[in-house]
Every structure is written in C-alpha cells, then in structure tokens.
C-alpha cells in the first residue's frame, strides 16, 4: 500500500507549508501590535507596557488631519466611482454599442498599468494643466483607478442578470424607470456594494498614486506614515497601524452583515 503513505506525506507537506505561510504573514503583524505597547523609543528591546503612544496618537493633530483626509477621499471617491462605474457598466450592457470593445479595453488598462506610471502621468498632467496639487487632484486620481475596478465588479454581476425579469416587470405594468429601481437595481445591488467596498479599500490603501498627486500640505494616512518613518519616529506608527489593523478586521468580519443590511436597505 503505497498510496496512503504518499497521501500522508502530502498531508504533512501541506501542514508545513501552511504553517510557514501563516508565520510569514502574521508574525510581523503580531510583533507590530506587541511593540505598539512597548515603553521604549527604539523597537529592538522591550521596556515595559504602556498606552503612551496611543495617547500621543490622540494628541497628534497631523495624524488626525491625515486620518480625516483619508476618510474624506475614500468616501468621496467610493461614492463617485461606484456611481460612475454603475452608469458605465449599464451603458456597456448594450452589446451593439459601437466601440464597446475598445472602451472596455481602456477601462481594463488601469488594472494592469503599474501604479507608479499612473502616478507619474497624473502628476505630469496636473503640472501641465497648472493645477495646484492637493485634495482635488488626489480625489481625481483615486476616482480614476477606482472606476475601473467598480465597472468590472458591477459588469460581472450584470452578466448573469436574467433579462426575462425585466420583461416580467414590464409585463406586470412597470414602466422602465420603475423596472430599474424595483427589479434591476435591487438585483445588481450586491455587485454595486462589492464595487463600493473594493473602491473604499483601494482608496484608503493607496500610497504611490497619492504620493505623486497630493503635493505638499495634503497628507493621507499612508503618506503621513511614510513621511514619519523616514524621519525615524516609528513608535506612534506602531499604534496607528494597530488601530488600522483593528479597523480592517472589523470590516472583514462585518462585511457580510454590512452588505446584507445595505441590500435590504435598498
């Protein structure tokens, strides 16, 4: 009986690989969380437990500002790019639309173009147009890359849409407008919400493109973190990162619930 032995070998391998992956993924995060409570200026040694850096975080006006900037940009770019994405996806549904393929190619491009290229080209454009970089340019940049993702997510939802439902609604007396809001929109809502969540995450997370389009005086959290680390004060960053991890975990755990309640809301 060679087969069971082989399979037990693979089982062992699987477990080993799994363990290593988990170690490489989560040990750094765990260290970061532990050291955010470390009462020392340097990271290398443990000097005792403290909430000091969380307090510092609370008192730090620059961090607060960066946080609100991030939120503002994330919320605005999410709302705008999801709406634009919805409209675009609905428009692209018409298979007879001239230049549909070309347009879809253009939409997919930002997914494969490296961020740094996007960032540099946007910076050049804003410079060329003599636009002062700041909140507005960051917002425009974020919408630019979020729209592509939003369109693709919503489109995939539209692809399995059963068009006889539209006919059924019209047959039962619903005008096109009512049909859209009572039947089509509720049914593609999961896609719309997924697109919104994705846009939100992408926007909060983005560093490179924001870096090239923000200019001086408008920092988002990733930009602020990078700047602070560059200046060498890592301690508040540890606590900030821990909070962000907590927030992300919260989102992940409650995504399902949020989506469900959002769907039922609509």
């Amino acid at each position: 009986m060679k087969l069971p032995r082989l399979s037990s070998f693979f089982k062992g391998m699987n477990l080993t690989v799994f363990t290593f992956v988990m170690i490489f993924l989560y040990i750094p995060i765990l260290i970061l969380i532990i050291f955010s409570f470390n009462d020392a200026r340097i990271i290398t040694s443990w000097k005792g437990f403290t909430f000091k850096y969380y307090a510092q975080l609370w008192e730090n006006a620059a961090i607060k500002e960066a946080f609100w900037n991030t939120m503002l940009i994330a919320i605005l770019s999410t709302v705008i790019s999801t709406l634009l994405g919805l409209i675009t996806a609905l428009g692209l549904e018409n298979k007879r639309l001239k230049g549909r393929r070309g347009f879809m190619g253009l939409l997919y491009a930002p997914l494969v173009i490296p961020d740094i290229l996007m960032g540099v080209s946007l910076a050049l454009l804003f410079n060329f147009l003599r636009v002062n970089t700041g909140m507005v340019t960051v917002l425009i940049a974020h919408i630019t890359f979020c729209v592509s993702y939003a369109v693709i997510v919503i489109q995939s939802r539209l692809e399995d849409f059963d068009y006889s439902l539209i006919e059924a609604a019209m047959d039962l007396g619903a005008k096109p407008r009512t049909t859209f809001f009572k039947v089509k929109l509720p049914l593609i809502m999961p896609g719309v919400i997924a697109a919104a969540l994705l846009s939100f995450t992408l926007s909060i997370d983005d560093f490179i493109i924001t870096f090239f389009t923000s200019g001086r005086g408008f920092d988002t959290l990733p930009i602020y973190v990078e700047g602070t680390i560059r200046r060498g004060t890592i301690t508040t960053i540890n606590s900030l990162s821990t909070l962000m991890i907590g927030f992300t975990l919260f989102l992940v755990v409650f995504t399902k619930r949020i989506r469900k309640s959002l769907i039922s809301f609509f």
Binding site: A168, D171, L172
Partner: protein
Amino acid sequence: MEEIRIQNISKDFDGFLAVDGVDLTIRSGELFSFLGPSGCGKTTLLRMIAGFETPQRGNIFIGDEDITDLPPYKRPVNTIFQNYSLFPHMTVWDNVAFGLKIRKVPLPEIQSRVSEMLQLVKMEDQSAKYPAQMSGGQKQRVAIARALINKPKVLLLDEPLAALDLKLRQHMLIELMNIHDAVGITFIYVTHDQGEAMSISDRVAVMDKGKVVQAGPPDDIYERPASIFSAYFIGETNLITGQVIGIEDEYIQLRCNMGDGEFFEIDSTFHFRPEVGQQLTVSLRPEKIAISRNKPRIQDDINVLKGSIEDILYLGSHTQYIVTVGKLKFRVFSQHKRVYFDDTALDWDEEVWLFWHDTDSWLIDEMPDEAAYASESMVHPPRFGKREQSRNIAEEQ
C-alpha cells in the same frame, strides 16, 4: 372581454422571417394554443401579443383597441414565462403583489386580492417563501397568481410546463384547465408538445415556418389534417401517395406504388373533388388500421393488404407494429398484444393482413416533399435496425 384579432402579422429578425403574414382570430374566453416545432414562430407571435417584439407589418387588436404599438406595460395582457421569471429578491407575497403595487392599489385591497390569488393556486401557506426555496411546480403556481392578479384580458403562457417533469406536467395541465374555467379569460398557450396542446385547448393553431398551417379544434386537426405538415406533426400517421384512377359517388380509387414496381389499389372517401390522374396523399392514422393473422373476409378485398411484420414495439397501453408491404412500411397501433383466439401473439417476420375502412383515411391535396422529410422518413414509418434496438427504443419510451 373581447376577442383578439391578429391581422397579417409579420416579423423579420435580420433577414429571418420568424412570423410570416399570420391572420388569426382568438375568441373571447378561449383556451387557444400555438403549436409547432421550435423555430416555427409561435413564441415570436406570443411575444408580439405581449409587446416584447414589434411586428414590421400587420396589427393586433384586443376588442376594438389596436395594441400593436403599445409598450408591454400598457397592454391588458399578462405572461407566464417559460422559466417562471419570478423576482428572486421578493417573497411569494411580494411577487404576487407586484402588479398591484405598481398600480398603487390601496394596501388592504392588495392584501385581500393576493390571498385570494394564492388560494386559487393553492399557495396560501407559502407566502413568506422566496423563489429559491420552492420547487418548479410551486414557482409555476406563483407565476400564474402573479399574472392573474392584474385581471388581464388575456393570459399568455410560453411553454409553461416545459421545465417540469412528466407527472407534474400532467397534473399542472389539469390545474391550468381548472384555473381557466375559474377565471374565464382568454388563454393563449404556446407549446411544441402536441399532447399538451390537444388535451388542453379549445382550438389549436398549427404553425410551421412562420405561418399558421391549420387552425381548429384538436379533433378536427387530428382527424382532418389540412396539410401533410399537420398530419405529420399532430400524432403519428402513415402517408400513402397514389394516383387517382377512378371516382365513384362516395369514394375514389387510388393506385399506389409499393416501391418495388408492384402496385396496390385503395379506396378512400373524399372531402374535395380530385381529378382522375391526379397525384394525391392519403393520411391513415396507425390506430385505424386493423392487423390480423388471418385474411379478413371483406367484399372485393377493398383496403386489404398483405405484409410482414418487421418490428414490434410494446408500449404498454398499445403495441406498435411496423409492417412492410412491398417497400412501404406501415405503422399500426393495436391496443392489445394478443388479439387472437388461439392466444398467440404476432411475431417478428410473420405474414399479416392489414385492413381499414375507406372512411378512415383522409385525402390531402399535396405531395410530400421528399427532401424536407427524408431524414424523418415521414412517408413511410421510420426504419428501425435490429430487434434489440427497437426494444431499447420501446424501453426508453
């Protein structure tokens, strides 16, 4: 309630003529079927009545109102879709109430009408369920309730039973007839299943290649097919071609080629006046032919043929014999396998006699288009291979 008049309707899909100059009048309260093979234009015709397609030519009236150019939501018509098309994000109750909510009917009235409808389709205890939690038959009932609650003048049914299994289909067919009797509105039923159409309909329109070939009550279409297509599509039949060699007061004589140079003569009553020398087709239903081991004693041996059994298909309720006469193959249905006093069944390769009454055949003033039907060997019953094979077919049926 008013009748539906379809006047000279044509619909072209990028050069494919799906419906070709159809004229029909569907009486008020009738259960009317469009019957035909796939691609015959029956669904397109239905969709034009529903308003999902616009005809290039012709008009559709409901009563005196021309509805040809009305959008679907302004027509006094509701549809049962083939895949039910229930709204998956709504409960049964919400699905049924949809049409009334759209029309802003006051809530108390919606509630009473929804429960009335759910009662009609026997779904009153399922109103909180979602479509995904229901079986095909249940979805079907909800779809019927959702359509009928709007009190349409016409209910359109697009192959409503196609997705159900056989037993449920038979059950729902009876239920549909009961519902039709209960609500009393016009039903237009689209199907490719001749059994469904025959059993449920007051009248049937047989369609082929975008045209209505024949319209009438089911028995009329079965007993008196107007064309080779309706004879062939409805039920099964033997089509015998021959030349008129004599006309008497009540019957004509036909001379038919057996395919091997030999000829036989048959007599048939007629419903139109053929000419001597004319080529004709005779439709002879398999159940109208009697089969016997002994030569029947019939005066002048009219409509008596000798053949041999090539195949026997035992089908439970009846047995189908394939009998070769010359090179022709006759399909014969006999209700019992054993019909003889000596209690022995007919066997393969046995010499038998076929006979029928001259009023049981039906003349069709048309010659079969060999090219069109060659693959289906319509002129002669289909050729089966080995006996084992035919047994397999019988089992599958």
